[in-house]
Structures are given as C-alpha cells and as structure tokens.
C-alpha cells in the first residue's frame, strides 16, 4: 500500500540551527501539507502546497519556515533558525483530490527536539 514517508524520524538540534525535514508524498498525489503536534497537544496545520506554490499557511508558519518541492518526489520543510518552542512532531501529509475530499494520508512524523 502506498504511504507517505518522512525522514529523519528524530532530529536533535541546537537552538538557532537550521533544520530540514524531508517527506516523500504518495506518488500520484497533488496536494501536500505540513502539520505539527507539540507533545500531548492537538495536531496543527502549518502549510498547504499545490502546483509548486504555497496555497495557504497558518500563523505558526512565519518567516523562519519555508517549504520546497525540489524534485518530482520530495517535499521539504525548512526551519531556518530553530527555537525551543519548535520542538514538536512534524507530520507531512498528501492527498489526491479528484473527489475533493479532505482525507489526508499522513506520514509517521519527524520528531524535532531543540535544545
């Protein structure tokens, strides 16, 4: 069964360092998303991406965040200068959208720990 894959599964970094989280969405999907989940809290939308551009972003997704689809398969989230409060689980998701449903296929997440 096709799945969304994410790397790394866990990254530990020092405050102020840049981090890149990588995702390979399901191959025929057209819409890509990043969500985050701080430990014990609800899942929060960060950004949606379609046709090589951001279609919507949340207040959380400020100037230190960026997304990119550098090739036909990868979808990355970059955090330019990490802060302690960026520590969270980051989930990549994708969907196909022919039926305009909101069902998202999530990866297993990348845990980011900022020290």
């Amino acid at each position: 069964e096709p799945e969304v894959t994410q790397t790394p599964s866990h990254q530990v970094t020092q405050m102020g360092q840049e981090v890149i989280l990588r995702c390979v969405p399901i191959s025929n999907h057209l819409y890509f998303y990043w969500y985050r989940q701080i430990l014990g809290q609800k899942v929060e939308f960060l950004v949606s991406f379609y046709n090589n551009e951001i279609s919507e972003k949340s207040e959380i997704f400020d100037d230190q965040f960026s997304v990119e689809r550098p090739d036909g398969s990868n979808f990355t989230l970059k955090i330019r200068s990490t802060k302690l409060e960026d520590s969270a689980m980051y989930f990549c998701a994708s969907r196909f959208d022919r039926m305009n449903t909101g069902e998202l296929f999530f990866g297993e997440g990348s845990r980011l720990t900022v020290l």
Binding site: V4, Y31, Y33, K42, V43, E44, F45, S48, S55, E56, F91, A93, R95, D97, N100, T101, G102, E103, L104, F105, F106, G107, E108, G109
Partner: protein
C-alpha cells in the same frame, strides 16, 4: 461503557462494549468532517468522513453522526477491541481548502481486556 454528550479527554471501555467519542466543532462553514485515529508514535490515520449535507455515515464497525444545529460530531465504535486503543481526533475542513483540517482535542480511548 458509553459516553454521550460531552467531550472527554479520556474514555475507558471494556472489550466488546460500544464506544462513543464526542467532538464539538467551531466553524459553521465547515464542509467536511473526518475522524482520525492516532496510535502511539504514529501519524493520524483516516477512519471515516462525513459531508455537511449528511447526518450519519456508517463504516465497518464505526458510525459517524453529525449534528449541525449544535455543531457536534460523534464517532461510535461497535464491539470495541484492544486494537482500537488510540487517540481519536475529529477534524473539520472548509470548502476553500479541502486538505486544511482543523483538528479538535483528542480523546484517548483505552480498551480493557
């Protein structure tokens, strides 16, 4: 064991009982609602969805009920099994961005053998 009406952060049931997990949503313009299951250390997994023009939808062992008047969603799990133990989130989605979901507070379901 069942819980109806109020959202509870945790729910504990005996194996074989029915479970009811509740959720209140905030945006009356939401077009589409999804229940996700999240097991420990994993990403959310789709369970069942419902459009705003419906009030009930059934899947295998699961039923979702939508009450738009009071902006309330519930997930019923029949004959709950130990493998159903997880955190359950409802999510609402606007018709302007079908993948942008606003997740509710989760409910941790524990199934006792």
């Amino acid at each position: 064991g069942e819980s109806v009406g109020l959202h509870l952060p945790t729910l504990s049931v005996q194996e074989g009982d029915n479970s009811i997990i509740n959720c209140a949503y905030s945006n009356s313009a939401s077009d589409y609602f999804i229940w996700y299951k999240q097991e420990s250390g994993k990403g959310p997994q789709f369970i069942i969805d419902i459009r705003s023009n419906m009030d009930k939808r059934q899947g295998q062992r699961v039923t979702v009920l939508l009450n738009k008047t009071v902006k309330h969603l519930s997930l019923q799990i029949a004959a709950t099994q130990p493998g159903d133990s997880a955190v359950y989130f409802c999510a609402e989605t606007p018709n302007t961005n079908a993948g942008k979901s606003t997740f509710g507070d989760g409910t941790t379901l524990t199934v006792k053998p």
